[in-house]
C-alpha cells in the first residue's frame, strides 16, 4: 500500500549506510515498520547496563552522545549525528547496553525493530560487514582479533567498485598521421617512413584511410623479394583498415588488436573507414599507457635538458595522480610513483644547476628532502622543504665551500620553484645558510635539539628528522641519520617531548558536533585535515620509529614495520596505516578537485559517506595517541 510516511522514511534511510546496501523493496518494508521518537535536549535514551530495547536507532535530526561509566567516572565515547546508527550491537548479540545514550540537542530518532533487521543481516553480507566494522569502532577495544581487517569495511562499502586503471583509461594516440596516396610506390613510401621515423604509413584518399603499410609488410613482402619495391603501395597494403572513433578505452583497443592480429588502428571522425582520418594508435601507444607511463616520465626527466621540460613532466605527473585516484589505484603505489618522479626531477635540477655553475662541487655533499617529500608522501605540489650537507672541511676552506653550496642551492631552489614547488614560507631550504651546513654542524645541531627540546626546536626536529637522501653522496646521509638515532637512544625523554607536542592536536572525535573548524581567517568553517588528522598520524609514526631505531621515513612503511616489531599493538598500527592512506587519498582528491593543497575541508560540503570515511580515521588516531601518552610518560613532563 502506498504510504507517504514510509516513502519519506525510505528516502531518508536510503542515503545512509548500511541501508544504502539494501534493495528498495526491502528498505520500504523496513521504513514501514519504523517508530519515530522525539527527545528534548539532555534526555536519556537508554542507560548503560540496561536490558536492550526492541529497536535500534538512526538519528533523523539532532545529535546523541554515547557515554560510559568506568569506576564512577563518566566518559563520553562518541557523538552521533544525522544518519548515524546506535544501540544495535546489544540487540544483535543479546547483551545489556554497554554504554548509555542521551540526546545532545533536540533529537528525532527512527527506531528500527531489530527483528526485521536480523533477516537483513543474514541476507546481505555487506550489511553484516558494515555492522562489524561499526561495532569495532564503537567499542573500547576496537582492535581485538575478531575485527581485524574489518575495521574499514564501512569505507569499502561506500566506495565505488574498483576498476582497473588501464582498462578504462582513454587511450592516447598520435594525431595527424603521415599518409600517402595509392599512386605512391613502395620505395617512395619507405623513404617517407625512414625520414619521419615511423613504423607505418596510411594510404589515404580524400583523407579517408584505404589501407596501411607497416614495417612488418616491408620485411615480409619486400625484404623476401615477394614484391618489387617499384610496385605501388596498394600491392602490399592491408585493407580495409580497422578504425575506431576518437573516444575509446584502452581495453577496447586492445581487444580489437588481439582479435584482428593487428598492431595499428586508424582513428577516424566517426569510427568507420569512410570518414576523415584523425590519428593512428599503435600497440606501443597502448603499452605506454598500460605500464610504462611513470617509467617513461622518469626516463624523460633523466634526459631533460631544460627546466621547461621538467615543468611539463611535473604537470603530467599531476595528471597521472588524478587518473590514479579516479581509478582508485592504491595510495601507497601512487605516492611511490609521484615521489620517484619528484626525486628524479630534483636530482636532475641539481645536475643542471651544477652544469650552469660551470664548476664541480669542491667536496662531497648530499641534497636532502625534508617533510612530506622526505617521507615520500607528496602527491600534490606543495612547498619545497630541503637542506644540504657537505663534507667536513678545514676551517680555512669552510667559507669558500659554503659559498659554493649556497650558490648551488639558490639555483636549485629557484628551479624547483619554476617547476612548481613553491618556496618554503618558513625558509626551510638549502639556500638558507642555516640549512646548508657541514656534517659536523648538522650533528651538533641535532644533538642540541635533542638535549634541549624547547618548543621551537621540537618543531625543527619534526621537520628535519624526516630527511631523505635525494642526490649526492649517500655516505654523508648515513652518517647524519646515524647520529640522530644515537642521540635519541641516549635521550628517551626527548620522545616524550615529541609526543607531548603532537598531543596538542588531539584526535577530532566529536567531529561534526563539536566546534572543531578553524575559527577565523580565510579558512573559517573549514576543517584543517592536515594538522588535525594527517600530521598527528605522521608524528606518531615518527616517534615510534625513532623509538625503534627505524631508518624508514614513509609513514605507511613505518606503521607496517611497527606492526612486525610491536605485535602487541599490531592491529592498532595497521588501522593507523589504513587511516593514513584514506586521509592522504582524501586530501589529494580534495586538492585536485579544488586546485589547492587540499589542506582545508569544508565539512558542510561533505557527503555522508565522506564524513563516515573521515570519522573512521579518527578513532585509530585517538587510540595511538593514548599509547603515546602512556609509553613516553607524557604526564610526567614539565
Amino acid at each position: 500500500m502506498k504510504n507517504t510516511i514510509s516513502e519519506r522514511i525510505y528516502d531518508f534511510l536510503k542515503d545512509y549506510p548500511p541501508f544504502n546496501l539494501i534493495s528498495k523493496s526491502k528498505l520500504l518494508d523496513i521504513a514501514a515498520k519504523v517508530e519515530i521518537v522525539y527527545f528534548e535536549k539532555d534526555v536519556i535514551i537508554f542507560n548503560q547496563d540496561e536490558a536492550p530495547q526492541e529497536h535500534f536507532y538512526i538519528i533523523y535530526e539532532g545529535a546523541v552522545r554515547l557515554y560510559r561509566f568506568i569506576d564512577d567516572q563518566k566518559y563520553n565515547l562518541d557523538i552521533c549525528d544525522e544518519g548515524d546508527i546506535f544501540g544495535l550491537r546489544p540487540l544483535i548479540i543479546n547483551e545489556d547496553y554497554t554504554m548509555g545514550a542521551a540526546t545532545n540537542e533536540e533529537t528525532i530518532l527512527y527506531g528500527i525493530p531489530v527483528s526485521i533487521f536480523l533477516e537483513i543481516v543474514d541476507e546481505y553480507p555487506k550489511v553484516s560487514q558494515y555492522l562489524i566494522a561499526n561495532f569495532a569502532t564503537n567499542t573500547r577495544e576496537p582492535f581485538s582479533d575478531k575485527h581485524k581487517g574489518r575495521l574499514f569495511a564501512n569505507v569499502s562499502s561506500v566506495q565505488k567498485v574498483e576498476n582497473s586503471f588501464a582498462e578504462t583509461q582513454s587511450a592516447q594516440y598520435s594525431k595527424n598521421p603521415i599518409t600517402c596516396t595509392v599512386d605512391t610506390t613502395i620505395k617512395e613510401a619507405s623513404i617517407i617512413m625512414t625520414e619521419k621515423v615511423i613504423n607505418s604509413i596510411i594510404i589515404a584518399e580524400d583523407n579517408r584511410p584505404l589501407g596501411i603499410i607497416t614495417d612488418k609488410d616491408i620485411r615480409t613482402k619486400i625484404g623476401t623479394g615477394l614484391v618489387s619495391v617499384d610496385k605501388k603501395v596498394t600491392a602490399i597494403m592491408s585493407s580495409p583498415v580497422i578504425s575506431f572513433p576518437e573516444k575509446f578505452t584502452v581495453a577496447e583497443a586492445q581487444i580489437a588488436m588481439l582479435k584482428n592480429k593487428l598492431s595499428h588502428i586508424c582513428i577516424t571522425k566517426d569510427g568507420t573507414d569512410k570518414s576523415e582520418l584523425v590519428g593512428i594508435l599503435t600497440n606501443q601507444d597502448l603499452n605506454f599507457v598500460q605500464a610504462n607511463n611513470p617509467v617513461f616520465l622518469i626516463r624523460d626527466v633523466k634526459h631533460a635538458k631544460d627546466i621547461e621540460t621538467l615543468k611539463y613532466i611535473r604537470i603530467k605527473a599531476s595528471e597521472l595522480t588524478k587518473g590514479y585516484l579516479e581509478q582508485e589505484i592504491p595510495i601507497y603505489f601512487i605516492t611511490k610513483v609521484i615521489s620517484e618522479i619528484n626525486t628524479a626531477i630534483t636530482k636532475r635540477i641539481v645536475r643542471l644547476s651544477i652544469k650552469e655553475l660551470e664548476e664541480d662541487p669542491p667536496v662531497a655533499y648530499t641534497w636532502l628532502a625534508m617533510g612530506s617529500q622526505g617521507r615520500k608522501e607528496q602527491l600534490l605540489i606543495t612547498d619545497q622543504d630541503n637542506a644540504l650537507v657537505f663534507e667536513n672541511v678545514p676551517e680555512s676552506e669552510y667559507a669558500s665551500v659554503k659559498a659554493y653550496f649556497l650558490k648551488l642551492s639558490t639555483k636549485v631552489t629557484e628551479k624547483l620553484h619554476i617547476v612548481g614547488f613553491e618556496y618554503c614560507p618558513a625558509n626551510i631550504m638549502a639556500s638558507n645558510p642555516k640549512w646548508c651546513q657541514s656534517l659536523n654542524e648538522w650533528q651538533t645541531q641535532f644533538k642540541e635539539w635533542i638535549d634541549n627540546p624547547t618548543s621551537d626546536k621540537i618543531l625543527l626536529s619534526i621537520i628535519f628528522f624526516d630527511f631523505d637522501y635525494v642526490a649526492g653522496d649517500v655516505e654523508l646521509y648515513n652518517q647524519m641519520s646515524d647520529s640522530v638515532f644515537k642521540n635519541v637512544a641516549d635521550k628517551q625523554f626527548f620522545l616524550g617531548f615529541l609526543s607531548k607536542s603532537t598531543l596538542l592536536n588531539p584526535a577530532p572525535l566529536g567531529f561534526f558536533k563539536q566546534f572543531l573548524v578553524e575559527q577565523d581567517g580565510e579558512n573559517k568553517d573549514q576543517f584543517d585535515i592536515k594538522s588535525r588528522a594527517i600530521r598527528p598520524l605522521v608524528d606518531a609514526a615518527r616517534i615510534f620509529s625513532l623509538h625503534h631505531n627505524l631508518k624508514i621515513n614513509n609513514t605507511i612503511a613505518r606503521f607496517e614495520r611497527l606492526m612486525e616489531l610491536d605485535p602487541q599493538h599490531r592491529d592498532l598500527f595497521e588501522s593507523c596505516a589504513i587511516a593514513f592512506k584514506i586521509l592522504l587519498q582524501f586530501r589529494t582528491s580534495q586538492g585536485l578537485a579544488n586546485n589547492d593543497t587540499g589542506r582545508f575541508v569544508d565539512i558542510n560540503a561533505l557527503s555522508k559517506s565522506d564524513r563516515l570515511k573521515l570519522k573512521s580515521c579518527f578513532k585509530p588516531l585517538s587510540n595511538i595517541q593514548e599509547i603515546l601518552k602512556i609509553r613516553f610518560n607524557v604526564a610526567l613532563l614539565p
Binding site: M1, K2, N3, T4, I5, S6, R8, E35, V37, I108
Partner: protein
C-alpha cells in the same frame, strides 16, 4: 408492524465503534493510543465539499508508529479544480480510490478506541461526521484533541491569538514542513507537534488525558 423501540441496525463497523467507545476507560497516558489525522477536501464547505483523502498515524507511549498508519483516497463526486493546486489530488489521478463509504468503514476500523488528535480538529471531524450522516450514521464517538488548543494552553505568549496555523506551529516547534498538503504528510507533521507539545506539557505536570481534554474548550462538550 413497525417496532419503534427496536434499535435501528447499523453496519458492523459502526456497531463496533459504538460498542468500543461506550464504556471506555483510559488508563495511564503511556498506554493510550492516539490517532493523529488529517483530511484533504475539495473545499471548506461542510455540505458542498467532500473529503479526498484521509491520512492518519498512531502515537503510543510518545512514539509515532509508522506501521500503524492509514492512508485512503476517496472517489470524488464533487470536484473543485481550485483546490487541486493545494492538495495535488486530481479527479482521475493515479491513486487507488475507494468510495466514501468504504473509506469511512476502513477509517473507523483503523481508529478503533483511539483518541483523535488533529490540527483544527473541528474541521476534519465535521467533514467526517457529515459524511457519516450521509450514510445515516451518527457522529464519531472518540475523544478528540486539537494541537491548536494544546499549544494555546501552554504557550506563554500570544494568549490573545485565537488560531495558530499548522505552518505557524511548525515554525514555533521547529518541525520540518515535508509533504505539506498531503493528508498523511500533514498528519505526520501534526504528530510531531503533538509529541513535542505533550513532552513540554509533561514537564510541569504529570500528564493525563483529562488535562489534555480540558484544553479543548469547543470539543468533547
Amino acid at each position: 408492524m413497525f417496532d419503534f423501540f427496536k434499535r435501528k441496525k447499523y453496519p458492523e463497523f459502526w456497531e463496533n465503534h459504538i460498542e468500543k467507545l461506550k464504556n471506555i476507560k483510559y488508563s495511564n497516558f503511556e498506554s493510550i493510543r492516539f490517532v493523529v489525522l488529517d483530511t484533504e477536501t475539495t473545499g471548506f464547505s461542510y455540505e458542498g465539499d467532500r473529503m479526498l483523502c484521509i491520512g492518519a498515524v498512531a502515537i503510543k507511549n510518545n512514539k509515532i508508529l509508522v506501521s500503524d498508519s492509514f492512508e485512503v483516497y476517496i472517489k470524488q463526486e464533487v470536484f473543485n479544480k481550485d483546490t487541486v493546486k493545494i492538495h495535488g489530488i486530481r479527479k482521475n489521478g493515479n491513486e487507488i480510490k475507494v468510495s466514501e463509504e468504504e473509506a469511512l468503514r476502513q477509517f473507523i476500523d483503523y481508529l478503533d478506541d483511539a483518541v483523535i488528535v488533529a490540527h483544527h480538529t473541528v474541521f476534519d471531524i465535521t467533514m467526517i461526521n457529515v459524511a457519516l450522516k450521509r450514510m445515516n450514521l451518527g457522529s464519531i464517538k472518540s475523544k478528540q484533541l486539537d494541537t491548536n488548543y494544546i499549544h494555546k494552553k501552554i504557550a506563554t505568549q500570544d494568549k490573545s491569538k485565537k488560531i495558530f496555523s499548522l505552518d505557524e506551529l511548525c515554525d514555533i516547534y521547529n518541525v520540518k514542513k515535508h509533504d505539506r498538503h498531503t493528508a498523511l504528510g500533514d498528519a505526520l507533521i501534526t504528530a510531531y507537534i503533538f509529541l513535542k507539545l505533550t513532552i513540554k506539557y509533561q514537564k510541569n505536570n504529570t500528564l493525563n488525558l483529562h488535562d489534555l481534554i480540558k484544553t479543548n474548550y469547543y470539543l468533547n462538550k
